[in-house]
Amino acid sequence: MRALLLPVLALTPALAKAPAPPRLLSQTGLYAAPGVVAARNLAYAPQYPLWTDGAAKARWIHLPAAIDGREEAGWVFPVGTKAWKEFAFGGRKVETRLLWKTGPRTWVFASYAWNEAQTDAVLVPEGGLADAAEVAPGLRHGIPSRTDCRDCHGQERVEVLGFTALQLSPDRDPGALHGEPLRPGLITLKDLVARRLLRGARPDLLTRPPRIEADPATRTALGYLQANCATCHRADRPIPGLDLDLRPQAALRTALAPGSFPVPGQPESRILSPGHPERSALLHRLASRNPVSQMPPLGTVRVDRAAVDHLRRWIADLPPVPSH
């Protein structure tokens, strides 16, 4: 009888239940000993990092088998994959996030808040933790809720956003904002292939690695938009009524499309207005931390001045779009 029922249940994704995350970070498999990351967990640094109010970040991934890399923009991770990201402000670890693939379509999302002694971190409630650390006078870093995690990483098809072909490309953008140079010990596409941790990728992946093809300023701008905006603004996960795709191959086409998009006090404003940063809603949103207008809408309380400055210059230098 049980034998009859179990296959039925197994075939029903809605009933698949992910296990609960461990209570302590030290129980997740990140460390071999206190403070010592286990050798099986590979350190990496995406070339275009997400802005998190200037946090210092460290990242590791455990891959129990090879990634299915047939779709370059949508790697499929093996069951058992775990990815950790540690956030530190002012030299103190504040939180570590865990993404854990527990089944073909199930992922566990968890955040751990570091204790005062910096010896371990404790699982944060599902709703997050609003006040985890001060990142600037009067501004507090909040640990996102699990709903917030899914907002960026995806609802059904979950992505490890910093671990993609473009992000690990050895052809790194030297101008990437807040980018870390590759240093020994950080895994690259070449390492993944050599360790047989990536299968099905195109044969010339290493000789022609992913790269945003554009002039240096545009390359950097589009890379920044990819990491900070395109996790939500993308055509394959459309936002109703907003035809905006900020992935590198579509960003200019969709952001330059006709139609107004409001910037206070700028009647001629659009999403991106070449030559006119002041009329560009994209820049206005990026430079705002008013909840009504700020972008990204979560995960940051400080404006990224370096990004605002770069994008302002880039928009000012963009050639005008011919009108028809």
Binding site: M1, V8, L139, D151, C232, P238, G241, A287, V292
Partner: protein, 189 residues
Amino acid sequence: MTLNRSFPLAALGLLLGASLAQAAAPAQPKLIRRGAYLVSIAGCHDCHTPLKMGPKGPEPDMTRMLSGHPDSLKMPPAPKLPEGPWGWAGSLTMTAFTGPWGVSYSANLTPDKETGLGSWTEAQFLQMVRTRRHLGQGRPILPPMPVQNLQLVSEPDLKAIFAYLQSIPAVHNRVPVPIEPAATPIPMH
């Protein structure tokens, strides 16, 4: 014995039933009736159906049912309110509001594809409620929308509300985007 034998079959029946129910989406009169009932008692019309002046005073303009703030009604700059205890104000249509959060307008809930919920999926509607975010992933949904009440609604009832909203006449009405409060300083570091 009978119970034991019937349990797996019942489970199978439930699972198949659920699959069939998902497949039969378009005509769901019972679900739509339930949604209409919920929308009426939850007060959705209060802000999402604009008021017009009738012979006995303000009344809902049902030709614009649930279509939000009329785009034809261009609002002048919001009045400057005194330093408390008055804290917010609304338009005569009950569709535009000003307060410490800025200026907000009630949304178009009709199934118009360009300006309403016509291009939304049920999953996006549920996500909007779950996250309390505009379009399910943007800015917070603004006052006076009592989205916290909507979060207490069961998922079947939310699905009924969505089914009803998808069944009503579409009204093409592009609601203005909210205006942020001018006085709020933008942190620059």
